[in-house]
Each structure stands twice: as C-alpha cells, then as structure tokens.
C-alpha cells in the first residue's frame, strides 16, 4: 500500500505506477459533468486547481446542526468527461483524477505530459468512501445543483488503484486487450 499524501508534487505522482494501490490523504475537489463543461468552455475556476485532485463524484451532503455531513460519496463514471479532461489537466496542472471505469487516450496523453494519474475508486462503495471524508471545507458553483457543485473534501486513507499512470500505461487498455485475446480461445 502506498500512502499518497498532500502536497501532490509532480515527483510523487510520477513515481506511481499502473496497478499501485494507494491510500490518499489530503484535499480533493469534486467535479462532474457541469463543472467540466464549464471549465472547458473557459469558465474561471472558483478554487485553485494547480497541483490538486479532481474527484468525479456527485456526493450526498446534508447539513446537520449547521455542519456539512457527507452521507454517500462514491465515484461516478469518468468516461463522460473524456472530451474535457485532458485539456483541463494541462491547463490547470491537475495532479490526479479519481473516478470509476477509466478514461481514454486523450486523458492518458495529458497524464503523461503533465505528470498526472487516474485513480480508480471502488464503484458502489458509497459508505466506505464517505467514511474517508474527514472534513467538508467548502462548496462552490452550488448553482449547478448539490451533486454537480465543487465540494472541497479533506480525505484520509481514501482507497484507490492507479489504473492510468504518468508513463502512458493504462490498466483499462491492458485488460481490454487481454480479455479480447482470451475470448478468441473461448468462441
């Protein structure tokens, strides 16, 4: 198990390899469809994304006794952001993207160029992942609706697997190829 702890420096990120299991601790910003489209179209980010992590997640957050509490915080499907992600990684020097299902060649290329990785969270593990959020630091772009806003979370020991590294390796591409080869032996 690799501990990935803020600050997320280029060196730390480039040291990660496809297949590494990590426990992430530090700041992450959620962002899904509306945020990606907004930033891609030139919208000004309300938070400084440089050397930060974007989490594809539409959390369930409610206010209890005046305090934000995260009720569920699993990943959403990342591939929907493929048209935007590479551009945003380059533009803002984003160091990691968390999501599920993996992403495509444009994102992989940007990861290599900038020094960024894709961290695959466990899809459906809403409760385990919500427990990893120790603090809600704030919310912006709330006008997009609560699940689509940018939430600033502090996480501790958030479990994920590096499925796309900064050296051009994608576990998704590798598993796809392997499974296609194996299918040929079965049909």
């Amino acid at each position: 198990m690799i501990q990935l702890i803020e600050p997320y420096t280029e060196d730390k990120i480039r040291a990660l390899k496809m297949g590494d299991m990590v426990h992430l601790s530090g700041l992450v910003y959620t962002g899904r469809d509306a945020v990606h489209k907004f930033l891609h179209e030139g919208g000004k980010p309300p938070v400084d994304l440089q050397n930060q992590i974007i989490y594809h997640c539409g959390p369930v957050v409610i206010k209890e006794k005046g305090k934000w509490v995260v009720k569920a915080a699993g990943p959403t499907t990342s591939i929907r952001e493929e048209p935007y992600q590479g551009h945003l990684i380059e533009k803002f020097t984003i160091r990691a993207v968390i999501g599920k299902g993996g992403m495509g060649p444009k994102t992989l290329e940007a990861c290599k160029k900038v020094g960024c990785v894709y961290l695959h969270a466990i899809g459906g593990a809403a409760q385990v992942l919500a427990e990893c959020v120790t603090d809600v630091l704030g919310v912006s772009l709330e006008e997009f609706g609560s699940p689509e806003a940018i939430w600033a979370f502090r996480v501790k020991n958030f479990p994920a697997v590096v499925t796309m590294d900064a050296h051009g390796n994608s576990l998704h591409a590798a598993v796809l190829e392997l499974s296609r080869e194996r299918l040929k032996l079965l049909v």
Partner: protein, 292 residues
C-alpha cells in the same frame, strides 16, 4: 390493505441498505478466489466492508439508488390502483428520509423531480395468480450497470453468431467484453432469449428475481448459464475491470417465444450492488415472510 405504505417503505429501506443473503454469500466466496495482494482482492475487500457498513448504518449501499422496479404477484380482485398509490407515497417518503437519492429527471427539461416520482418511476409490474397471498419484490438498479446492458438481433455477422444457443452464447460474452468493469463488476446477468425488443428486456430483468443458486428448469438453459459464468471468468476482466478471477457472479437466462422473423437476445447487467428484496403479505396485509 392495511399498513401497505409503511410496509413498502420498509421494503425500500431494506433493499437500499441490505444485500440479500444469497448475493452476499456469493460475493464472500468469490473474494476468496482472488489472488492475495491483487487489485482484485483489494476491490473485493472494500466491497465487503461497504456491504457491512451500509447494513449497520441503514444507509444506501451505493449513492446511485437506481431505477425503482416493483414486481407484484397478487390474487384476483387485488386493488392495483391502491397499491400504486401506496408505492408512490412510500417512494417519496423514502427519498425524503435519504433511503433513496433524488434520482428521477424529467427527460425534456432536465429537472430533477426531487422525490423519485414521475412518468415511469417507480415502475410496477403486476401479475395475477390463483393464490391468496400478495408477493412483492423490489429491485434497485443503478445507471452505471444499466448503461452497459445490450440487445442483440441474431444473426450477428460481426460476431458470427447464428440463431441458436451457440449464437446466444457468443453475444452474451461479447456484452461482457464490451462492459469490462464499467458496470461495477463483478456483475450478474439477466438474459432473455426471444420476445420482442420490449418484452425481452422486461423478461431479462425478471431473471434477476431468481436467487443465485436457483437452477433453471430447462436443462439447455441451465447448462448455458453455468457455461457463461465459467467462460466469462476466464476473460480476466475481474472486479472493477482491474483484472482477476471474478468477472461474473452469476447469469440467469429465460426464454420467450419470438416471431419467425426475429431473434433477440436482451441482456441486463446488474452490478455487485445487486439490491433485491421482497416480502409476502397475507390477505389482511401483514408481512408473513421476507423473501431472499
């Protein structure tokens, strides 16, 4: 029928927070198949912790609480309209209580209705039978896995799949390859051979009402179900598509008659968060048995 609304609310709560025992047992035994220290084992461990934690906290297992699919078998004279009303009210309350996420969006305006009610939500399938009991089952099926479902029309030239069970096998395995880990695998397939494009998909979902250990009474389909699981698990896709031994936890296949001109194979992919519960009510509306 007395207490229908609170009973249905409890059904929704349980379905959202607790996986049925047969599914949990299958997941637990599949986890032992993964290699020590592998990404696959890591994923399976987190999945198991999540199952325990959701039950303990009585909180949604997954934040995508999915399409709400009721299947009701009831005697003649059962008041379907009253059931529908109670079900809708129970769903709205369940949403307000956080058992369900606000998950129903107007397809034209993009507006979330906020209570999971709207055209098509919840979906209720009624069947009459000659007993006195009312059998109510609920499946919550998320978007990630629903998106990787597929319908094939045989023959399929690309896959060299003809109009026979071997062709059916080929297209099912193709669907598994296309899905990779995107449907939050390891998955469970519900399949219908035949029917039309609409009845085929409905019947594929009805297959998901069967328990994991249920054996198909039709020997040819029973053999195919087994073969699909064994073959899919040789593909190496694994939990979450990380690579590994368990790509599918199960496969259930039903058949409907078809027109001579068509031959559809409809495949519903269910994620590991296979939320299915049900109960039986007696004629005064009391829960006499929990299914699953």
């Amino acid at each position: 029928m007395r207490n229908l609304k609170p009973n249905l609310l409890e059904l929704v709560r349980r379905t959202s927070a607790e996986l049925p025992d047969d599914v949990v047992n299958t997941i637990v035994s599949a986890a032992t198949q993964e290699q020590e220290g592998s990404n696959a084992q890591y994923a399976m461990n987190i999945i198991q912790s999540n199952i325990d934690m959701a039950k303990l906290k009585s909180a949604p297992l997954c934040q995508d609480t999915g399409s709400i699919l009721f299947f009701v078998r009831a005697p003649r004279g059962f008041d379907q309209l009253a059931f529908e009303k109670a079900a809708r009210e129970a769903v709205a309350v369940a949403t307000a209580k956080g058992y369900l996420r606000q998950n129903s969006v107007d397809s034209l305006t993009g507006k979330n209705t906020g209570n999971n009610l709207g055209p098509g939500s919840p979906a209720i399938h009624f069947h009459q039978h000659r007993g006195t009991r009312v059998d109510v089952r609920l499946i919550l099926k998320g978007g990630g896995c629903e998106n990787v479902g597929a319908q094939y029309s045989l023959p399929d030239v690309r896959l060299n799949a003809n109009r026979d069970l071997d062709g059916v096998r080929k297209v099912i395995l193709d669907a598994v390859i296309q899905a990779q880990g995107k449907g939050c695998g390891p998955g469970i397939l519900g399949v219908c051979v035949g029917g039309d494009r609409a009845t085929g998909y409905v019947h594929s979902k009805e297959q998901l009402l069967r328990t994991m250990d249920d054996v198909n009474p039709e020997p040819a389909l029973a053999a195919l179900e087994k073969d699909i699981v064994v073959s899919a698990n040789k593909l190496g896709i694994g939990p979450m598509g990380f690579g590994g031994a368990t790509t599918l936890l199960g496969c259930k296949i039903g058949a409907l008659n078809r027109l001579p001109a068509s031959y559809f194979v409809s495949i519903s992919y269910m994620c590991w968060a296979y939320r299915r519960q049900g109960f039986v009510l007696n004629d005064s509306g009391k829960i006499v048995e929990w299914l699953y």
